[in-house]
Symmetry: D2
Subunit: 452 residues, 4 copies
C-alpha cells in the first residue's frame, strides 16, 4: 500500500481563462459562488486530526481549457452499475451547455474502444443523443473488462485529439487511468484525465459513497423481500440471497438494514465457521427449530476460506471468486436434510446491475458529472471526483487506488446490522488473526476512515 | 384424457335457505341481481358451437348452507404465486361479512396440514388476521407440495367439523381435491369442495386466465429488461432469461409482448434444433454478427428433448425437468467461444413467485374469492371457479384436471410473438411430428379452445 | 341513438394483393393462421342471442393496399391516456417491418395538425424515432381537443397523399373520423380510416376494455391508498379522491376493487341524496362516529344534479362538468364542522393520464396496433379495433359512437363494489326515475351488453 | 434568534447502570464499540472553525435507566411524512429487544393524546403490533396539529408513569417538547424527552437531512415527470407542480435535480417579479415561443409577496400561506390567454406525504430510532437525534428550534439547480433587500452552515 502523504491535486498548467459560467465571489448577492482550491473538507470530521483535508470540487473562476476549442472523450469500463447513463448524460450536458464544448467522443466497450483506432469504436455525443438515456440502465457506450496497453491508448487519444478524458469505472479502471497519466506525462502531453469512480460495492477509499450504490441497495432489498416470502411459505424454508461485495459487505449490510427481514448477514470482513458449536450450521438448525424459517444474506466475497481456492482472474485482473451462494445452497440441502429444509436461493446480480438509477442516485450522478467537468475545465488531472461528509471533493488517483474500503466491524453500521438481525457477532470459534484480513485477495485494505 | 361430456356442476342437496345478501331478481331497480344456474357462458364464443356452455358464477337466491352454523377451511398448496394472500383474504372477508360465517380454519403448509390432526396445523382466521396480508406476497398459511392419503384428509375434515373446503392450488392440488370428493362421496358426507385454480403457468384447461399470471408477466418483463440492458452493455452480449412454463409458453409469450425487447422466445409447444442450418446456434451467431447482441427468453419446459431425460418427480408428482436455462448458458459459452460472447443469465423465478399481486390481479383475486364463496354457500361442490370470455364461471374439477392448456401455435398470440421478435417460425429442420407433441410429460394436452 | 342493425364492416374495394406475411390457412403446420372475415365473436356470449356477432380482427390473406407504395398517417386526439405512445410505436413497427410501408406521417396536436397544411404540423415517423417512446407517457405527436372542418381535413389528407389514416382518440375523435369518412365518400376517395378507441373512462360501447384503462386503475388505486393513509392519520379524517369518469363509473369501481380500502364509491350511474335520512351526510357522520375515518371515491360525473348546471362545453364539445370533488370537500368541511373533520382531498387526474402504460396495457396496445394495421392493409374502413370476450374485433364507427357504455348497476361488477365497501345500495330516498338516467349529458347511453 | 453558544446535551443524572448491549471499548476485537460523549462531529467540516462540534450519537457503556423497570411513551405530531411508522417500529424494537423495555405507550393523535388522560388516547405497543406497519405510510398512532398546555401534558406523563418520551414531529412539536422539558424541570421530574425531527421540508437547523425527505423527493420527481408529459402533450403546454417547502426550497431543488425535466424552479429563498422585463411572465412567454412547452416547479412558500397576506395560522401556529399554485395557474391562464396556453396543474401533496418510506429512508429511520433509544437510556434529555457529515449526532432542542434552515443561494445545490434548468438567476428587477429575507414568516432563518 502506498502511503497517502497528501491529497494534492495535479494541474496541467496555469489557469488563465475566465470561466464562462458568470458566477460570483461575493456572498449574499444571490448569485452562486465559484469554489476556491483553498476550500477544503477535513478527512477526519471528528476533529481529532485537522491536518489533512480534501480539495473541494466545484467550478473555478479561471480555467485551463476553452470549451469551444477542446475535444473531450468518455469511456465506461467494468461491470454495469445503475447510473452510468446518468453520468454520461451529465457530462455531455455540462460540457455542451455550460462550457461550450462541441466535440465529445464516446469510446465503445471500455478501454477496448481506446486501444484500437477506428470508426467503429467511437460515437460522437451531443445533448440530443443522451436526452433520455438515463431512463434505462446500462451504458450507452457499452463496457468491457480488461487491461490494455497504456501506450496504445495514448496513441488513440492523440489520434483523436482528445484533451479531456473521463474514465468511468472501478478499481482496475482507475489503475488504468493512472497508467495513462504516467504515459501522458512521459510524453509531456497536456491531457486532463478525470475519473468518476464506479463500484457497486462502494469500496473505494476516501470516497463516502459511490454512484449506483443506493439503487443497488433498493433492488437488493426487493430480492431479500422475495426470499423472506419464500422462506415463510414453506416448512423449514431458508431464503438465501447472494449479493455483490467482493471484499466489502456494504451492500449486504445496507440491504439488511433496508429490509429489516434478515436473520443472518455474512460479509467478507467477518469470518465464520461452518461446523462446531456456534458455527453456521448449528445456528441455522437452531433457528429453524425455534422459528420454522430463516433469511440469510451472503456477500459474494464472504466465507471464501471454505471454498477451494481458484487461481484464476477475470479480464479485469480480479481474482475469480468461488461461488459462496451455490456452495451454501448445497451445504444446507445436504447437511440439514434431516430437517427437510426448503432452500430458496436468489442471485439477483444482473437485475441489480441493470437497473436505472433511482432518484437519489440520479441527483448524485448529475452532481458528480458537473463536478468532473468543472475539474477538467480547470486543468485538474489524475484525480477522481468524490464525496466526503456530504460535500463533493477531488481525490488523487493515487489515493483512490490505494486499497479497499472495508466495513468497520467496530463501527455503528455493523452494530446496526447486528441489532437488526439479532445474529451473534461471531459464528464459530475465534475471529481470524489480523494477517488473514483479506483472505480472497492479495490487495491490502485501504486506510481506515478516522471518523467511521 | 377424459372426454368432457358436459360442464354440469354437482350440488350437495336441495337449496332452501334464502340468501342473506338481499339482492334482487329484477332489472332496473338499482339493486344488484342474483345469478341463476341457467345463466351461461358459451364455451365457443365464436358461435360455431353453441351446444356447450359453462354455468355462470355468482350469488344464488337460495343456499344450501347457513353461514353462522357452518365451519369452513382453506388450504393453499404447491409453489408460491402472486395473489394467494388476496384469495385467502377475499374468502375470509366474504364468508364473514356477507354470509356470517364465524368459524374458518386455515390449514398450514398445504395438504400436509390436512393430513395430520393437531393444533399446530391450523390457524383460526378472521377479518383482523387477514386485514393487510395482501400487501406482501406468499401465503399466510404456508404451502407445500405432495400428495396425501384422501382418507386421512377426510378424517381431518370430519374431526375439524369442516363443511366447506377451499383448495387453492394447481393441477396436483385439484387432483387431490377430486380424491377428497370421491372419499366424501364414498362416506356420503355433505362437504362442499371448491377449488381456486392457482397456476402461475396459466395452463389449466377451460380457464382463460389464472390469478397471479398478470403479475408474473409484469415481473418477468422486468427481468427481460435487465437482460436487454446487460446484452447491450457488452460486446456480443447475450441476455438469457429462463421463465416459468413447464408445458405451456404463456408467461414467456406474454412477457415477450410486454417487453418488446426479445429477439427469440422458446416455448415447450414449439420444438427447435440446436445445430444445422436454421438451428439455434446459427441463428444466434448470425444475429450477433449483424446486431452485436441478443435477448433470448426460454420457458423452463422448452427444448427438453435436448437434455438428458431424468426420471424423477418432485413431491407433487411433477416430473423434474432438466434445466434448459443453464444448459443454454453453457452451450452458448462453449459453442460460440470464437465470438467471445458474454452470456448474462437471469433466473427470476422466486422474485416472480414471491411478488405481491398487482392491481389487476388484486381485483381478479377478490372476485374469484367472492364467487368461490357464493358457490360454496349454494352447496356446489367438486368444481373450481374460473373465467371465460371475461365472465366468471363454474368448471367441474373433472374438466379442470383433464389435461394441460397449451398455447396455440396457429393462433393470434403466438403470431404476435413472432411479429414482435422477428424470429423464424421454426428453428431447424422440421416441425416435430404430432406424436411428439408433449415430449416432456406423459400427460395429454387439454381440449383445444374452439375460439382461440 | 342510432339502431345498431349490424356490425358489418366497410371495405374500400376488392382485395387481390397476397399478404406479405407468409402465414398459413392450415391448422397443425406450426405456422400461424390468417383470419377470415367469416371468423366471428358473438355479441351475446351467454348464448341467448346468437344472431349478432363481430368480425374478428387479424391479418387477411389478401390485401387492398401494397405497403411500399402507400403513405399512412397517424393522429392522436383528446386528453392524454397511458399507452398512446405504445399505439404509435406499434403502428409504425407493424407498418414498417411487416408490410413494408416506408412513408408514415404523424400529425401534430390532434385534428389541429390535420386541419392546416404545413411542415410544422407533421413528423415523418420510422422505427428509430419510436424505438423507446413507450417508456414515457403522453403522446409523441401531441394532442388537442376540438372539432375541425372535415372538408379541410380531407384536403390535407389529399395533399399529403395519405391512403391510410389511424385516428387515436375518444368519442369526439370517432365522430370526427365518421365525418372524414363521409367527406371521403362524397369525393369518392379510397382512403382507409381506422380508429383506435382511446377513452380512459372505458365507456365506448361494444368494446370490452379500452387501452390505458388498466394502468389508470393501477394509478388510481395508489391515490386511494394515500387517501386511506391520510384518513387514518388524523382524527375524523376523510380521504376523498376524485377519479375520472364523466358518464361511467368504471375507473371508480375498478380502483375501489383494486384498493380494498374504500368505504363509499359514488358513480354517475347511481344517484344519491346529500341530506335527509340515508343521505350522504348522515351516512358519513355515522361512519366517522363508529370508525373515526372514511375513504370516499367519487367519479367526476357523479352527483352532477347537486351542482349548478353550467352550460359550457370544452373544445371537444364535451359539456364542462362542475367539480364534484371540490364541492364535496367544501360540503364536508362546512356541514360536518361540528365533528372537527380533516378532509384530505386528492385529485390525481394528470398523474394518472401521464403515466406510461403498465405491462398489461403494453401488451394490449401492441396487439391493438397490429390489428389496426392488418385491418387497414386489407382495405377495411370506417371502423375501430376492439376487444370482446378477450378476442380482438372490428367494430363499425357507427356502433362505437352510438352512445355511452355504462356500468350495469344490476351486474356483478357493481355488486363486487358494494361487497367491498359495505356501502348501502342507495344513499337517500329513492332511485332516480329512468328518464333522469343521464343527468349530465344529452347523449344517450349505448346499448346494454347482453351478458354483462 | 437565540445564540447557539454550544451544543451541550443535558443529562438527567449520573449514569451507573452497565449497558445490557455487551459491546466493547477495544478496536479490532470484532465487537462493535460503545460511543463516548467525547466522540464528536465538527460543525464546520471545512476545518476553518474547529471550536464547535456535536456529541456523537450511539450506545453508551453506562446508562441512566434500566429497561425492564421503565415505561416509555411515543407521540407523533404534525402533518404526515414518509417514515413515521418506521420510526415507531424502530423505537419499539430497539427498546424491547435490546434494552428489555416491556412497557411502551403510544399516544394517539399527537399532543392531543397527551393532553387528556383516558384509555382511548393510548395504545400499548409491542413488537407484534409494529411488525409490518412500515409497509404502509402514515402513522399508526395518528397525528394532529396544535399546541397543548405543558402542565396538563406533564400531568398525563406522571399519571401514565412515563420516564422516557419520544416526540416525533416538526418545529412546533420541538417547541412543545421544550415546554414539556421546562415544566418537568420546574417540577424536578427526571423524565428523558428525546425528539426525532420530522419535517418533510428538511428545514431544521443543525440537521443535514430529515427522515422522509428522500422519499418525498422521489415522489415529487414522479409528479414532475407527469407535468412534463402533460406539458409536451399539448400546444403551449405548461406543467405546473406545487411542492412542499414553506420557508425552504429543498424539496423543490432536489426534485428538480432528480427529474432533470424542469425549466424553472421557484423557491422561497429567491424572490421573483411577475411583470416587467425579465419577470416571470415574459420569461414564460419567451420559453413557450421558442420551445412550445414549459415545466415549472413552485415551492408552496415561494412568491408569497404576490399574494394577499392572510393573517391566519393553523392549529400548529404556522401562518397559513396563500396558495401560490392556484394563483400561478390562474395568472398564466389569464395573462397568457393570447398564447392559448394549456396549464396542467399538479398538487401531489398528500400522495407524497402518505407514501411509505423508500429503502434509503427505511435505513435512515431505523438508525435514527436506534440512536434515539440509546440517548434516552443514557439519560440524555431535551435533545433531538440528528445527522451531520453523514454521522449521527445529538442536537440540543434549543439549537434545533433556533430558526429555519434555508437553502444557500450562494452554494452548490442551488448552482446545480440553475445548471439543470438553465433558468436565469433572478427573474425581474432586483434581488430583495436583506430585510425581506423571510417575507412569509416572522421567524428568523437558522444559523448558516459554515461549509454549505
Amino acid at each position: 500500500m502506498e502511503t497517502i502523504e497528501d491529497f494534492a491535486i495535479d494541474v496541467l498548467g496555469p489557469r488563465t481563462l475566465p470561466s464562462p459560467l458568470g458566477l460570483s465571489n461575493a456572498m449574499g448577492d444571490m448569485v452562486a459562488n465559484y469554489t476556491l482550491d483553498e476550500d477544503r473538507v477535513l478527512w477526519d470530521i471528528s476533529g481529532r486530526d485537522t491536518t489533512r483535508s480534501f480539495e473541494r470540487a466545484g467550478p473555478r473562476e479561471f480555467n485551463y481549457f476553452r470549451g469551444p476549442s477542446v475535444r473531450a472523450g468518455i469511456v465506461t469500463c467494468g461491470g454495469l452499475c445503475p447510473g452510468i447513463n446518468n453520468i454520461i448524460r451529465g457530462l455531455v450536458l455540462q460540457l455542451w451547455h455550460r462550457y461550450g464544448v462541441r466535440s465529445i467522443a464516446g469510446f465503445r466497450y471500455g478501454y477496448r474502444g481506446l486501444s484500437m483506432r477506428g470508426a467503429a469504436s467511437t460515437i460522437e455525443l451531443n445533448p440530443d443523443m443522451v436526452d433520455s438515456i438515463h431512463l434505462v440502465g446500462g451504458s450507452l457506450l457499452g463496457s468491457s473488462r480488461g487491461q490494455h496497453d497504456p501506450s496504445e491508448m495514448v496513441d488513440v487519444l492523440v489520434g483523436e485529439g482528445i484533451r479531456i478524458l473521463f474514465c468511468v469505472g472501478g478499481d482496475g479502471t482507475m489503475r488504468g487511468a493512472r497508467a495513462i497519466c504516467a504515459e501522458l506525462d512521459r510524453r509531456k502531453l497536456k491531457v486532463s484525465v478525470i475519473g468518476v469512480p464506479k463500484t457497486i460495492d462502494n469500496d473505494i477509499p476516501f470516497i463516502e459513497r459511490s454512484f449506483g450504490f443506493e439503487t443497488a441497495v433498493d433492488k437488493a432489498a426487493q430480492a431479500i423481500q422475495a426470499a423472506h416470502v419464500e422462506a415463510r411459505g414453506a416448512p423449514n424454508g431458508i431464503g438465501l440471497v447472494k449479493l455483490m461485495g467482493r471484499h466489502s459487505g456494504f451492500i449486504a449490510a445496507q440491504a439488511t438494514l433496508a429490509s429489516g427481514e434478515v436473520n443472518l448477514t455474512l460479509i467478507p470482513e467477518v469470518p465464520f465457521e461452518l461446523d462446531g458449536k456456534g458455527g453456521l450450521l448449528r445456528w441455522l438448525s437452531s433457528r429453524l427449530k425455534s422459528r420454522g424459517h430463516a433469511v440469510i444474506v451472503v456477500a459474494e466475497g464472504a466465507g471464501q476460506r471454505h471454498l477451494a481456492r481458484r487461481d484464476e482472474r477475470d479480464a479485469s485482473g480480479n481474482q475469480r471468486l468461488s461461488d459462496i451462494g451455490t456452495f451454501l445452497k448445497r451445504l444446507f440441502r445436504e447437511r440439514l436434510q434431516h430437517l427437510d429444509v426448503n432452500v430458496k436461493y436468489i442471485d439477483p446480480s444482473y437485475m441489480i446491475r441493470a437497473a436505472p438509477a433511482n432518484p437519489g442516485d440520479s441527483i448524485f450522478c448529475a452532481q458528480l458529472a458537473e463536478n468532473a467537468v468543472h475539474a477538467a475545465m480547470a486543468g485538474k488531472t489524475s484525480m477522481v471526483v468524490g464525496i466526503w461528509g456530504s460535500l463533493f471533493t477531488h481525490v488523487p488517483l493515487a489515493a483512490a487506488t490505494s486499497g479497499r474500503k472495508l466495513l468497520s466491524v467496530d463501527g455503528p453500521e455493523w452494530r446496526s446490522v447486528l441489532d437488526t438481525t439479532g445474529q451473534p457477532a461471531i459464528l464459530g470459534r475465534q475471529p481470524r488473526p489480523p494477517n488473514e484480513q483479506e483472505p480472497n485477495d492479495d490487495e491490502p485494505p485501504g486506510p481506515r476512515c478516522p471518523a467511521c
